[in-house]
Symmetry: C2
């Protein structure tokens, strides 16, 4: 079942809730109230209740939400109940940091391959991943990789994306500060850290 | 004037609009319609109109929004009309990538200092920034630095934040996948790339 009416903004918050629920389950909590979950995730309880109502989980008054059931439900909605493999393209400083990042595992996400153009780093092994020549990108379809993370220079971004889409990739996490042209069947999420930083001053007291 | 009723979600989109407006102004566009701006930024026109209505700019029917005026207004709301200096703490792979990132300038943001604990990299110069010993962090108040970007290992994150707050920092961009305890006067924005990646599979076709 696809919950086609769930707003993107709710989808954006589901991984945050999932992380809070995982923390709660590690502390052997069986049930959790929206107020309690709010403490874990820093989102208002009313927002949590509204978001969960989209997929019909209203919890039980006085008891709250069943932690394990809710975790399973969110994973199913996000399609994280199946292992998802991703390819990293571009292993410069940022790419290295992404390869070393310990946080993907809890969501069942796996960086399964890494590619670069630089002969100096092709063949190097980082955390069980051997960096491959970018010319081998087209073969990722056979390896059941459908997600990609791109950390290439801005100039190379569109070209890389075109190759990835031909190779069957349907979801791309983009770290280049640029807009990418992709067909409708492909989802791109661009992470631009300057945009996140640009909203920090708003919250600061006048000085 | 502080627009206290602007929702956080609208604030999150303002830097996106600002980037689109900058692109439009570079192409000598005097006025822009919400539909046209939508093409630049990938956000629905109705959403754009709603967001802009929070600060009273409804544009002119048939003419659209004045590009320069709107850019100024958004910068003023986000407090980007004054140069904002930030300190980077942690210059590992991720920190290096942040130092090299070319995108801060367009928002008037400036990474003005970088700190690390590693004696091997203290003293190294990257893009006019000499990496300093972390023991010097407490002196950033005098240097009018009120923002910080932290790219330190998870274990060191809370400790780093405590020092930063004592040193007068009021806005923190956090790349450690953890929750940080801060007083109310301090705003933390956590960037967790695994959360962004965790919502990619949702948009992919069933296979």
């Amino acid at each position: 079942m696809r919950y086609s009416r769930i707003p993107d903004e709710t989808i954006r918050r589901l991984p945050i809730y999932l992380r809070g629920l995982i923390l709660a389950s590690e502390q052997d909590q069986k049930n959790i109230s929206s107020t309690n979950l709010a403490d874990y995730v820093g989102i208002f309880p009313w927002q949590i209740r509204k978001d969960f109502s989209y997929f019909g989980d209203f919890g039980t008054r006085g008891v709250g939400y069943n932690v394990v059931k809710l975790m399973k439900e969110i994973k199913r909605i996000l399609k994280l109940n199946i292992d998802q493999k991703a390819a990293l393209v571009g292993v410069g400083n940022l790419g290295m940091a992404i390869l070393a990042f310990p946080g993907f595992g809890i969501y069942g996400l796996d960086i399964a391959a890494a590619f670069d153009v630089n002969p100096k780093i092709i063949g190097r092994k980082i955390k069980n991943i051997t960096i491959e020549n970018i010319s081998r990108l087209s073969g990722i379809k056979k390896r059941k990789i459908k997600l990609a993370v791109i950390a290439v220079p801005r100039k190379a971004a569109q070209e890389t994306v075109d190759v990835l889409i031909k190779a069957g990739v349907r979801g791309i996490l983009n770290f280049s500060p640029c807009y990418l042209i992709v067909p409708k069947k492909v989802k791109v999420i661009t992470i631009d850290i300057s945009m996140d930083m640009a909203r920090l001053p708003y919250y600061m007291p006048a000085s």
